[in-house]
Symmetry: C2
Subunit: 376 residues, 2 copies
């Protein structure tokens, strides 16, 4: 199979770029002296995760228990489910642990900790629980100085489910776009999570793991003293949002959507393609960033970036390609019907999720199908 034989739309992975992205992150983590635990929600793809493990990753992070089940079936044992545990999902987590999966679960409230203790005792299972720490007001977690931290850890410890660690995610790092700001938010993430661990230990409570991470903070952190591991996901593909944040060049984006020109509205300077939001996702993450890429940045089929052309609109199975700024009245000649283009996505996690499989393009031009799963 080669590029020319593919049906469109299709999600392409440039394998050489992916391998470089993996190596870059792993080398950085090695230099900073921490373990690296990739977040597999970005790709949900065995071949990608195998490449991450082969490069030196220690275990994985998942966003759903289905991801845990799928990757445990692929042979990965060390898994953290980094979303606050819904009590109703405890049977599913228990089943994984009973099969030998070293699954860690997350809590950030008294109610959740109590539910884990009650369920664990009832089923004679000693869950390993990590406490989620809020370092930037982004979403979930307990602030490091909040005494609820000690309350939750004590409930777990007294209940026989000692907290194995603390975990933070500075999701607000996506809101910045200068190196200095990223260094600052990375340090805030590190310091907050380490502080939470110190408070637990000072109170005589266990806390072995100090886990932090997001792609921007992982790549910006100047040191990671006190941290034991880092988590990041989107770095494996990178995307236009991350480019605007300032952590990757456009030439490092490993994911694109192959599409075919199916028509034109010449007076408007539009080419119509067979990739719409179903193939790109509805993610408009660059809308409020320093450069708005619409639904994606247009490249030739070879991957050469055409800096001026964007997917400026999208319906379900139609995309509108136009030149930023002024309409290209010659677009019908530039991109005749049948022309194949690649579109770089705003958000690799969201675009990947629209596709049943990736088409992995090797450096010799051969193409392999790499399935990805979805659902819960």
């Amino acid at each position: 199979m080669n590029l020319e034989s593919l049906n469109t739309p299709a999600a392409l992975i440039d394998v050489e770029r992916m391998q470089r992205n993996i190596a870059r992150m792993q080398q950085r983590m090695n230099a900073l002296g921490v373990k690296f635990r990739p977040h597999v929600k970005t790709t949900k793809c065995e071949q990608v995760v195998r490449a991450q493990m082969d490069a030196g990753a220690s275990g994985i992070t998942v966003s759903t228990l289905k991801e845990a089940e799928q990757f445990f079936a692929c042979g990965v044992r060390d898994i953290v489910y980094a979303v606050g545990m819904a009590p109703t999902k405890l049977p599913q987590a228990l089943a994984l642990r009973r099969q030998g999966c070293d699954l860690k679960i997350v809590a950030d409230s008294v109610v959740c900790a109590e539910a884990i203790v009650a369920f664990g005792r009832e089923h004679d299972e000693r869950f390993e629980v990590w406490i989620e720490i809020d370092v930037d007001g982004h979403r979930s977690g307990i602030a490091p100085e909040d005494d609820m931290l000690l309350t939750v850890a004590t409930i777990l410890s007294d209940g026989g489910m000692p907290a194995g660690g603390v975990l933070a995610h500075a999701g607000s790092s996506y809101d910045y776009d200068t190196h200095d700001e990223l260094v600052r938010i990375a340090e805030q993430e590190r310091a907050g999570c380490v502080r939470a661990a110190e408070r637990l230990r000072a109170a005589g409570l266990p806390c072995n793991v100090v886990s932090v991470g997001s792609t921007p903070t992982a790549l910006a952190a100047e040191h990671l003293q006190g941290v034991t591991e880092v988590r990041a996901g989107v770095y494996v593909m990178f995307d236009l949002v991350m480019h605007n944040v300032g952590v990757n060049d456009i030439s490092e984006i490993a994911l694109s959507v192959l599409t075919t020109v199916i028509g034109h509205q010449s007076e408007k300077g539009w080419a119509i393609v067979d990739a719409g939001w179903m193939a790109m996702s509805r993610d408009r993450g660059t809308q409020r960033q320093k450069q708005d890429f619409g639904y994606g940045l247009v490249c030739l089929e070879t991957g050469e970036v055409l800096g001026e052309y964007l997917m400026s609109g999208a319906n379900q199975e139609h995309g509108i390609i136009s030149r930023a700024g002024s309409a290209d009245q010659q677009i019908e000649k530039r991109f005749p019907v049948g022309t194949r283009l690649r579109i770089l996505p705003n958000h690799a996690c969201a675009t990947g999720a629209q596709h049943p499989a990736y088409l992995a393009v090797q450096s010799d031009g051969t193409v392999e199908t790499w399935p990805r799963f979805y659902g819960w």
Copy 2:
């Protein structure tokens, strides 16, 4: 299976509402004296399409050839693929026709018409081609007064692939929100498409089918003289975008996402749920409408609408529920951890696409799994 036994997040269909939506549209089409050809891209689900056919639909509309293949395998023969034909997809269309599928394909350019003629002759296949008409500058198609219409029809006719009809979609109808505006755009869609058909016939070219439609125009049209069939998709579920357009009450929305509260940030008035954009989609279609519903409108598990609460933010597997206007400091008591809620979506097509199956809730409370497919 019942509601209480479902894992979350899950895409629920209220079957009674769905049946009412189907009946409402079919009765309207019957009264207007036209055939009705539902667009199955909204659900890609056999059980839903069967209900539409049972209510009186004549054939289906698809947005991908995979939909055509899947529904032909379910026994539907009369199918129009309503996206401009990419020449590279002609072998796939040919295979369907050779199996007995009465597949109609669409062209809106000389290049496309010539490609169909060349391929059809080469394979001795007489494709039925409909010409796409642009009635509102929304996306694709040939304007009714543009002489390219006659050129394309002549190429097809001379090449032995006579145009079977004309097809228009007033996609801009989504941009309006008053009855008068919808009546006007419906009439514009009708008149433009009928005019194109008249021009073809006046030139001695065949044109049997005059196909128009979108959910808003189908529900607003005062008459459909000259039209032979109507297409619409989202009406089967309705959603918050259509509610803002003014074509459905919130109580008619048949699709929702069941989710579980997993935590809180009480000072901010946030409840965190286990449905994020992966379950809702990134569709923010209500953002520029008269009422912005964030990522969706919150209901109790029973379906009772809580008018003040929205999903105000979404990460991949986390949603943030908050009260519109002022923060609800009591949200932790109102929606404790483990509470199950339903979220009504902005856009039923986009939200459905995130799920491997619907969970169809019957009026007696029993639940069936209705699979849906994805990909191309």
